[in-house]
Every structure is written in C-alpha cells, then in structure tokens.
Symmetry: C2
Subunit: 174 residues, 2 copies
Amino acid sequence: MKRLCVLVLAVATAACVIASMLFTAGRADDEAAPIFGVKMPPGYRDWRLISVAHEEGNLNDLRAILGNDVAIGASREGKLPFPDGTIIARLAWSYDPLEESEKAFGRPQSFVAGPPKNGVQFMVKDSRKYASTGGWGFAQFNDGKPADEAVHNTCFSCHEIVKARDFVFNRYAP
Amino acid sequence: MKRLCVLVLAVATAACVIASMLFTAGRADDEAAPIFGVKMPPGYRDWRLISVAHEEGNLNDLRAILGNDVAIGASREGKLPFPDGTIIARLAWSYDPLEESEKAFGRPQSFVAGPPKNGVQFMVKDSRKYASTGGWGFAQFNDGKPADEAVHNTCFSCHEIVKARDFVFNRYAP
C-alpha cells in the first residue's frame, strides 16, 4: 500500500510538473505586442519607481510608472532624450475610495489602488528600430495578453503631445 | 607657478572634503524622529513598490508606498501581521494637473506628481520595542528633518482605524 502511494504521488507530481511546464511555455506573456514586437519584460514589477499618477474620465485609475535601471538612471539625471535600452512600465489599478478613511472623515478622503485596470503598458527605447515613432516601441498587455493592433496605433499619437519631453509624460518624483 | 597651482588646488580639495564630511555628519537624515526613535532608512527611494494612493482635502497629494525586502515579501503573501524587520515608506508629492493632457482633452484628465509634499513617513515593525503601538514605530521627516513630537502623537491613533489590517492602510497592488 505504502509503495503504491509513493508511486501514485510520484506520477501525480511528474504530471503536475509537465502540465506546469506546458502552461508556462504557452503563457500569454511570451507573446509580442503587434506593430512594435515588444514582449513583456520579465521582473518589471520589481523595478524602481519613477512616478505616480491619476487619470480621471473613462480611464479613472491610479497608476505607477516604473523603470528598468537605464530608465531610473536617466530619469534621475533628467537628461533627454532617454538612452537606448530604456524601458518604462506603466501599471494601473482601479481608483477605489478607502472605506475606513471615508468613515473616519465623514467624506471621501483617501483613494487607493484596487484591482489592476487598463492593462500594463511599456515604452522601449531603440532609436534605430523605432526611428519612425520617436525612437520608442510601445506595448499594452491586458491580463498578460497583448492588446490588438488598433490599440497600438493610438500610442504614439497620444505621446506626441509631450514630444518636448522625449514623448514621456512623467518626470522623476524624488 | 605650476607648483603653486597644484598646492592651492590640493589644499582647496582637502578643505572641500573636510567641509563635506562635517556637513554629512551633521545632516538632518541622521536624526531620529521623536517618541519612536526611528531614523530615515538609507536607500529607501530604491525600494520596490507596494501601492499608490491619492489623498483629497487638506493633504491633496499623490503618494507611493514602498517597502524593504521584508515588507515586499509579506505584502505579496498577504499574510498578517507583518514580521519584525518590515519597513514601509510613504512618499508623497503635490497633486498636479498635467498641462499637455488638459489641453488635449479640453478638461482636467491626468494628474501627476509635482514637488515632494507632506513629508516622508515610515512604519517600522518591532513587536517588542513598539508593543504599545501595535508593534509599529512611526516617523515623519519633512525635508529630511524629523517632524515634531505633536505630529508623531497622531500616527498611531490614525492608523488604528485599520487595526484589522495590522495598522497598514495599503494592500499590495499586483
């Protein structure tokens, strides 16, 4: 009986490992976004903070702008344009009133990040590869899956309004 | 003449180094905050992000909550209470409308972080040392200098409204 248990457990474990490997191999964050071919950079959630923001209107979110080491270095120096190798990540979450603080103040006071919202976006600097879009490749992933081409057609036209800041909306928040 | 220049430069350099050492030794971020004796943890601006928030009313800021490695680990696991060694940092900046986006949308749309505002705050977990305040030591620094005792008397009473979450307002934003 004991031997059978060990065998069953071993087979079950092997099956789980294989299933997990298959799942990992095919998972969405391996897919490149359309137009620019940007993939989700591994470990971006561990990157350091550039700044924070809030969008009103339809977006209605709280967001954080993180950067890889190149992005952080350039942001802190405040030098433009950003060097090749810069990757900036924009995370966003639902804009939720904090219940406890609303109760204590008797009115909305604190707004905190709820569940993820409006996807995760990346800007990748490669001045040769992306020469026609200010040197930036853009990508948006919704639930780890690249957004469609139509979404990616809107990136550069919107970022063009801050061309004077190398197409980046946020400055480094000290 | 060349020798004199070298000598003058050497003396001037030495004087600068000494002045800089004296300045560093006495600078504000070596000072401990009152009541809890918490000092500004070195390198906190490089810590990883726990979450983001916006305060309305008099505070009127955008904020980021960063954590040291212990804080990030515990926040991601979502286990309470936070272990000893946890340090959580709350940074805040002016809540500024983004001019370019307001122009493009014809109404306020994006709010970004302006200059630092409302100081930098820290929560340090030491369940024995700070047993009378839920295991947390609190500190606020304004422009690198500890805020006064009156300010530090308000920390715990406010954080008590989220006692059920180990006195921490923000959850980890994935």
